[in-house]
Symmetry: C2
Subunit: 208 residues, 2 copies
């Protein structure tokens, strides 16, 4: 059972699918975001979903009705999970969970870029509390800030935690797991590696 999620930030659909085929044995899932959908189309979600689980990283931050429409599309294309923002409040999250069906809804608890300190960070606890209350499946918390990850783990109860930022962004795989992440999200360190399969395997072993 792997703890590695591949962030598939590759615009070229053929290359993206190749990387997934090469590394799938060592992956828990693949995360696909807007830039790739905008260049490759939502068909990339359908195609990767035939190989492994797909989490749509759409960071949905809209009113409830629009949220519902976006989540429904992710579901229609075979995604197993979707990432939404919590800062837009309880009714938008409710709409996401109601529209998700069997899909797992992950709420952004905290982001890792400097601007996350401007407005978001003081609300991490409130967002986690809301996510718990509404019944979200999991949280997104930064591997780049282990002490925050540990704090979020304390607050999260049994919610699953996915930790992006491992590798090029500076987060360490083993450390993230030890601080409470259930899964680490890794992009460039795998797909820009000369041997993506070996890179995925190393991360897989590191997090066993």
């Amino acid at each position: 059972m792997s703890s590695v999620i591949l962030a598939l930030d590759i615009a070229d659909k053929r290359r993206a699918l190749e990387i997934v085929e090469e590394t799938k044995e060592y992956l828990h899932a693949v995360k696909i975001g807007w830039p790739v959908v905008l260049s490759a189309g939502m068909e990339i979600v359908d195609e990767v979903a035939k190989i492994t689980e797909v989490i749509c990283d759409f960071k949905v931050a809209d009113i409830p009705n629009t949220t519902r429409l976006i989540v429904e599309q992710a579901r229609r294309h075979g995604a197993s999970g979707i990432i939404v923002h919590g800062f837009v409040g309880h009714d938008s999250l409710r709409a996401a969970i109601d529209a998700a069906g069997d899909m797992k809804v992950y709420v952004v608890a905290e982001m890792s870029h400097p601007g996350a300190l401007d407005f978001m960070q003081p609300h991490t606890e409130g967002i986690i509390e809301m996510a718990k209350k509404e019944g979200a499946y999991g949280l997104i918390a930064p591997a780049t800030r282990p002490e925050r990850l540990r704090r979020i783990r304390e607050l999260a109860g049994s919610m699953e935690i996915l930790a992006p930022g491992v590798g090029v962004q500076g987060g360490k795989a083993r450390e993230a797991i030890e601080n409470g992440a259930d899964y680490i999200i890794v992009g460039r360190s795998i797909y820009n590696s000369e041997n993506p399969r070996e890179a995925a395997k190393r991360l897989y072993q590191e997090t066993l």
Copy 2:
């Protein structure tokens, strides 16, 4: 010169383009969001952009690099403007503005659904201040809350204000303009009308 922006929330591309053709004479621009892009593809942006100005309502809320990639795609497909969240902080907004080129960047100052009170509303002033400082072109503020719109107008200086929520959601066109909106955003009241052209014309005249 019209003050009406059509929110083109129609998944059927042919019908969407028909509505734009019928109403264009009375429109300032057309707003296109994720649900439509997910079902019709980004080609809908290219096609509407041949008829009138397009604002991509992507409510981007991501780290700077992902923000840049999303904004670049909107620009590549001919959009004239893009809507981003300010909540994610100054560096994400900076990335959006830098990637936008001639495109106008609009920052969500406040949303109108109940959940917007959970975390966002206390930050309206801070977000406007940041948007001003970073040189954003405009703001999004709710036509459904005229007193908030008026307050946002006071803080916005010369920034352009687009006000969604007119029509079915309860906002009034004339009132929004009088409280400081430069443009009103209207969806269902136009495209679900028996005569979309007449509905757009009425709103156009109401806001002269």
